[in-house]
Amino acid sequence: MNLHEKRIPIIKIHDYLIVPIQVDMHDKLAIQLQSQILEEIAKTRAKGVLIDISVLEMVDSFIGRMLSGMASMAAIMDTSVVIVGMQPAVAITLVELGLEMPGVDTALNMEKGMEMLERRLNSRKTDSF
């Protein structure tokens, strides 16, 4: 596997962006992904982002901070981010590391994440009219 060539796809479906992270990321790739997603949000005016980390076997403090930073930045741009499918071992390790990621929305799987975003979007729609 050539780590130098890896790019993480960002898929747009309706109002949402789906980002399946399927490589063990180094720091530069993580930073790159963050700005890529933000640019894509601006470009597509997506209302929600699902970041699927179900195949990630490790999330260290850098990637953890990148993910929670991502959520706060997207929130300022009026977009919700949901982190989907974290593995139990990763969750335990993150908590022990001291990164409890308060304020970050999480979902057990893609389906639940999508439901969560839809709920958000709908309550916003009913609020505004």
């Binding site: 780590l3 901070r65 590391l97 001291g98």
Partner: protein
């Protein structure tokens, strides 16, 4: 140059250099494999992999890289995976401060060293200004 408190019979598993960000990824994957081969559970594998990732990042950011020694041995009646990271960086002025939660001197948020310490069973750090830093971590099987 540094003396550690543990005495053990160790087998060398591997020796690696951390020069680039890609090395961080490949060496931490290698260490995960060693942990797996030793029979560690999935959570312990994740703990040691995450802990070394924090250390490697420190080494890369502050000292431009360094060397990693991976051993397995018997320590205090435990099968242990032992990872020693050595760099020739600027050294740490106040180790106690560096080991405090939330403290950072660089761009990090200070989860690195104290976080890594919480993930392993033994954690020792020694540093000399302008000479470098050595960190040794052990994880029981």
């Amino acid at each position: 140059m540094l003396e550690f408190t543990y005495k053990a019979h160790c087998d060398l598993l591997g020796k690696f250099k951390i020069d680039t960000e890609y090395d961080i990824v490949t060496v931490r994957q290698t260490i995960r494999q060693y942990a797996k081969d030793m029979g560690m559970g999935i959570v312990d594998q994740t703990r040691i992999t995450t802990a070394v990732s924090e250390l490697f990042r420190n080494m890369y950011n502050y000292a431009g890289g360094g060397e990693v020694l991976i051993e397995r041995g018997e320590v205090e009646n435990h099968h242990a995976l032992i990872v020693t990271c050595t760099d020739q960086g600027p050294g740490i002025e106040d180790i106690e401060l560096a080991m405090t939660d939330g403290y950072t001197s660089g761009q990090g948020m200070g989860y690195g060293l104290p976080g890594a310490k919480r993930l392993v069973d033994r954690f020792e750090i020694q540093s000399k200004l302008k000479e470098g830093t050595t960190v040794r971590m052990m994880k029981w099987k």
